[in-house]
């Protein structure tokens, strides 16, 4: 009996140790993030931004980059979301009833997964080659403009969007397919007027999440030849533009304390944007799913 009690106590000790270890391990990434944020705060406070006029100039630079980020992501989505949607509908529709992928869909999905894993720099190089060729045909097109960057970002987002949308289409409860067919609906009607509306909310949340991932993207734009100084937000697709991470990069490599401070401050703004988008995406997704399951 005593031996048994000792074994139980040993197990309890093990449990406690394990729980402490898990807690510490999960705190490490949070601590790292906090340290980084703290460093950024200190750096941006410490920087001497100079006169009132110079301060305003810096803030304009930040706003310009924020607008650039917004426009490049928004127009990138406008390019690739419709294409991704058609591809996802094509992939999801045979699977929803039979629970089995046709071979072609399986191959296609594997290829799309590979496309997600290609480093973004490679996409940048690819896009540069493409736009250089196009520019040789029609020199007026230019290379370092918002339109080209949007196409590039659209290409990078496309496989992410396809996989996300396909999953959301598949997550719609599948009984509604047969119920719709039983009313005399065609495949197109079932997918477009039943499954798609049921998945639309979750897709919106998924798009926000992908956008949050893309805000921090700098390398492909730098490969494309991101301009170092842009003073106004883009007014059209032919305009030069700068995005938040590229702005951070440009400011961070300069020696003056004011620029370093602005780089830190802009990083904080970037982090805040990502956080807001992610929280919005999560809240939205949770609401959509609850409504779909009839819990609300």
């Amino acid at each position: 009996m005593a031996a048994y009690r000792r074994r139980i106590q040993a197990r309890r000790r093990q449990d406690r140790l394990f729980r402490i270890a898990v807690r510490i391990a999960s705190l490490i990434p949070v601590l790292l993030l906090l340290v980084m944020i703290l460093t950024l705060v200190v750096r941006s406070m410490a920087a001497d931004l100079g006169s009132e006029a110079r301060r305003a100039l810096h803030l304009t630079g930040l706003a310009t980059a924020a607008a650039g980020s917004f426009w490049v992501i928004a127009s990138g989505l406008a390019v690739s979301a419709p294409i991704a949607l058609v591809a996802a509908l094509w992939m999801a529709h045979p699977t929803r009833l039979s629970r089995k992928d046709p071979l072609l869909v399986g191959v296609f999905r594997t290829l799309v997964r590979q496309a997600v894993r290609i480093p973004n720099v490679v996409y940048g190089v690819f896009a540069l080659a493409l736009f250089l060729r196009l520019n040789a045909l029609a020199p007026a097109l230019g290379i370092r403009n918002l339109g080209n960057a949007s196409i590039l970002l659209g290409i990078i987002m496309l496989p992410n969007l396809v996989l996300m949308m396909e999953q959301e289409l598949k997550d719609v409860p599948d009984g509604i397919d047969e119920a719709s067919f039983a009313l005399g609906a065609s495949w197109v009607a079932v997918m477009v007027r039943q499954v798609l509306p049921a998945a639309a909310g979750a897709m919106g949340a998924g798009i926000l999440r992908i956008a949050a991932r893309m805000i921090g993207l700098a390398s492909p734009f730098i490969v494309l030849g991101a301009p170092s100084f842009v003073s106004a937000p883009p007014a059209g697709f032919g305009d030069r533009f700068i995005s938040l991470p590229v702005q951070i990069y440009q400011w961070a490599v300069r020696p003056e304390s004011a620029y370093r401070g602005m780089a830190a401050f802009t990083s904080l703004v970037l982090l805040l944007c990502i956080l807001l988008l992610d929280v919005a995406a999560d809240t939205w997704k949770r609401r959509v799913v609850r409504r779909r399951e009839g819990l609300r």
Binding site: A182, L183, G184, R193, Q194, P197, A198, G294, R296
Partner: protein, 268 residues
């Protein structure tokens, strides 16, 4: 043949229908006629092929991989497998309702209107929704919440909403597959009242494993049992009171009185 059959030509005739999955038949060589303005009950144990038969009648079974249907089905004199009969038309005319009441994740109003809309109904939708909900015996319970989600309804209400939704596409017949198997006796009673009220307007085929329900609802009853071949067979098709009280086939009597049935796993 009685005078009755001459007065009312069958709206649906099945002959030598065999349904198989991956070349294994699940229900074989069924031949039967269905009369308008009456309820036909398909009874029999689970696995006798009642659901497969219902799904084959309106070709919903085409959507299930590996399925094959042989034989012929004529609806209103037309060949259901003919080139001029689109599966969509067949499914609208013979509207199927499964045992699980599946509501679309939309409002009550949208649930009823959806089928009519994809079929291009161009009348007054509010009127259609109200009429169908009334016919399904649900109007008084939902008239104040037409714009609320249908997923808030209870199981029995959902089943009646599905009935209303099927009525909205103006079918020739409703194919009801175990419509009350998931419901309590009160909700079951409501559904049965609705079925009896509807049979003047649409043909009704109801599959049920409960032969007492067949007795309450149906003019004609057909018994399906797993046969010697391992697949379901039509054993007897007769007026319900004849089949239940005075069956012609020994197996029918055994099934109804709860005795051993050939081909099942029960010992002799």
């Amino acid at each position: 043949m009685t005078e009755e059959t001459r007065r009312d030509p069958p709206f649906l005739s099945i002959s030598h229908l065999t349904v198989s999955f991956d070349d294994t038949p699940v229900v074989g060589d069924v031949t039967m006629d269905f009369q308008p303005r009456e309820v036909t009950a398909l009874i029999g144990p689970t696995g006798a092929g009642k659901t497969s038969l219902l799904l084959a009648i309106n070709r919903l079974i085409d959507l299930r991989p590996g399925s094959r249907v042989e034989g012929s089905i004529r609806i209103g004199g037309r060949d259901a497998f003919g080139p001029d009969m689109a599966p969509e038309e067949l499914r609208r005319r013979l509207s199927y309702l499964g045992p699980k009441p599946i509501c679309f994740p939309r409002s009550v109003w949208d649930n009823v209107a959806w089928g009519a809309r994809v079929n291009g109904y161009d009348g007054d939708y509010d009127e259609l929704v109200e009429t169908c909900l009334r016919r399904a015996g649900l109007w008084d319970e939902v008239k104040g919440m037409l714009r609320r989600s249908a997923l808030r309804l209870s199981g029995g209400q959902r089943q009646r909403l599905c009935l209303a939704r099927a009525l909205a596409v103006s079918p020739d017949a409703l194919l009801l597959d175990e419509p009350t198997s998931r419901l309590d006796p009160i909700a079951t009673g409501r559904i049965e009242d609705v079925i009896i009220a509807l049979k003047e307007e649409v043909g009704i085929i109801v599959a049920t494993h409960d032969h007492l329900q067949a007795g309450r609802l149906a003019e004609k009853t057909a018994l399906f049992l797993p046969g010697g071949g391992g697949f379901g067979e039509l054993v007897e098709h007769a007026r319900t009171e004849v089949l239940l009280m005075n069956p012609a086939d020994k197996r029918t009597e055994d099934y109804i009185t709860g005795k051993h049935v050939t081909g099942t796993r029960y010992p002799t």
